[in-house]
Symmetry: C2
Subunit: 333 residues, 2 copies
């Protein structure tokens, strides 16, 4: 494991540590209400948090959010039988979330992604975007902690990550590595960051995941979204076909293995979800293919369903059951 | 400036940048209600934010918090005349805040400061403490942004800062430096961090300030607290005397210059505020003396008063007016 990450982070004990099990993307469209400004889809987030806990932790667990809710006088209960327990078995996960109805308004109003920090509007929008996305991050960290997941919010900006011409320039993963190595679950997010060429930009959750996957080599990556998976055309159109399995060649090209499309020469319109201003679906599938090219399975699946539970639990790593709905993107055998 | 910081951060343009003007500590007791769990002292925070804006920014300003309040349906107004303006003049500030009634409950319940991350209670408390202090951080960033201060929340944990035997081991300031260099106001806070020797601990805001002051050499440092300054005994006791000026020698020893104490041989009981579990007043005064030893004036003053406004504006840098109440700690001339 140690040779795979780019920094000087090492296990505190110096012993070999369990490798990273999984990176999970909580898609903005799956955990927020996309048409309501800064509104979390509480039902989905709660189910997703419970599914993540089941996938990560075997054994007893306790709530780790001991804070008041804003506006509430109620003080959360803290369990008092911690000392009776040994630590539960747990698999190492990293969570990355998108912005959904958080951040996009502020970013698009000000054009943060286009840079130009000397303009007061862009500078203000940068601050406003970070307030919005870090608010969402805090809520997700709390939802996970409530379920007993030792979640730690980590903003790419604070981690010192920056871009050049909107591609990652500096993204030292040593702090993320140390967090997983000590048993925490880092929760990162798409963020406004500094850009060496244009001043600032938006670093998307998908780009973050590819970077983390490249350096930390998880066993698999799960994208939780608001539709069943990748379709051959926008899923709202009649006769849209869910692509069940996509094979990626070592040169990065890819083809649909399942189902057999009638017209294989036709360029499929790749659509997972409509709510994304940081690159759209072509970026999304390209990022997934780049991860699959590393030999890491990628599952794109509808959040808060039985399908997502099975994907998170790693039940798809050998054969993909016929009764599982979603899209698997993996290296061609 | 560039030779003063420890990392490879340089101005993007390569030109000399204005040095750091001031580091401000927002004491936990000044900005939270100390006896009410996780309750912000909104009145004080609003006045402090306005005073900070006046000290930092000359010229027009606009609110930079464009997010909904939790539970509110109201969408904040975004000004539409940004493009008519050139950027306002601004002085470089860093804000560091304490925890007050945030974080302390979670930290003391679990003993995070004593380490032992393999214990489920400590690990949970670490997560719970970070949720509480980052909630406060977000609220402070929002209050400052609302006043037009380009505030950026930066958690020491996310910045990769860690300790060894509870002293700072790794605290790369390059991200903080880049943030101030590009015109933002970093807002840091006391945080739960990893410790190389005992697993984890609490890194206090005061220790963070000393570290930043050492490497970034601000012109002065202001501690905003809930009493007028440093007294010769607990300020609630009768006949407590406010120490107006303390002179620090190059060897770190210090003496009270003003007022002339009747019994100079008596060891004064140093008391600024009672609400602090991360070291108490002896630590606080020792940290301030270590900053003063560097030739940087330290002002300890009651938040949200005319005295704090004058301290933040740098009006005390030559002579200390007789009608100013607070404590100045500076290198003996």
């Amino acid at each position: 494991m140690d040779q795979r990450h780019e920094s000087s982070a090492t296990s505190a004990s110096g012993t070999a540590t369990k490798p990273l099990h999984c990176i999970v993307k909580l898609g903005g469209a799956a955990i927020t209400c996309k048409n309501e400004l800064e509104t979390i889809n509480e039902d989905n987030l709660n189910v997703v948090s419970a599914q993540l806990r089941q996938a990560m932790i075997s054994g007893p667990f306790h709530g780790m959010d001991w804070s008041r809710r804003p506006g509430s006088l109620e003080i959360p209960t803290v369990a008092d039988n911690f000392d009776d327990q040994s630590e539960s078995g747990s698999k190492k996960f990293i969570v990355v979330h998108g912005a959904g109805s958080f951040g996009h308004f502020q970013a698009s109003k000000s054009g943060v992604h286009k840079g130009g920090l000397s303009k007061p509007l862009v500078k203000s929008g940068f601050v406003a975007t970070r307030i919005s996305v870090t608010s969402l991050n805090l809520e997700i960290v709390r939802a996970l902690a409530k379920e007993g997941i030792p979640s730690i919010g980590m903003s790419p900006f604070s981690c010192g990550w920056s871009t050049c011409e909107r591609n990652i320039a500096v993204a030292d993963i040593s702090t993320v590595f140390k967090a997983i190595d000590t048993g925490f679950v880092p929760v990162l997010h798409g963020d406004a960051v500094l850009d060496n060429s244009q001043g600032c930009t938006i670093l998307s959750g998908d780009v973050i995941i590819r970077h983390l996957a490249e350096h930390l080599r998880p066993e698999y990556v799960v994208f939780l979204t608001d539709v069943l998976g990748v379709y051959d055309r926008p899923p709202t159109e009649p006769h849209a076909v869910l692509l069940r399995e996509i094979a990626v060649q070592e040169d990065g090209s890819w083809s649909v293995l399942k189902p057999k499309l009638q017209d294989t020469s036709r360029q499929v319109e790749i659509t997972v979800s409509a709510h994304d201003t940081t690159g759209g679906m072509v970026t999304k599938i390209a990022e997934a293919a780049m991860i699959a090219k590393l030999g890491i399975d990628v599952y794109i699946v509808k959040a808060a369903t039985d399908y997502s539970a099975r994907a998170l639990n790693g039940h798809l790593r050998e054969d993909i059951p016929n009764d599982w709905l979603g899209t698997v993107i993996r290296l061609a055998k």
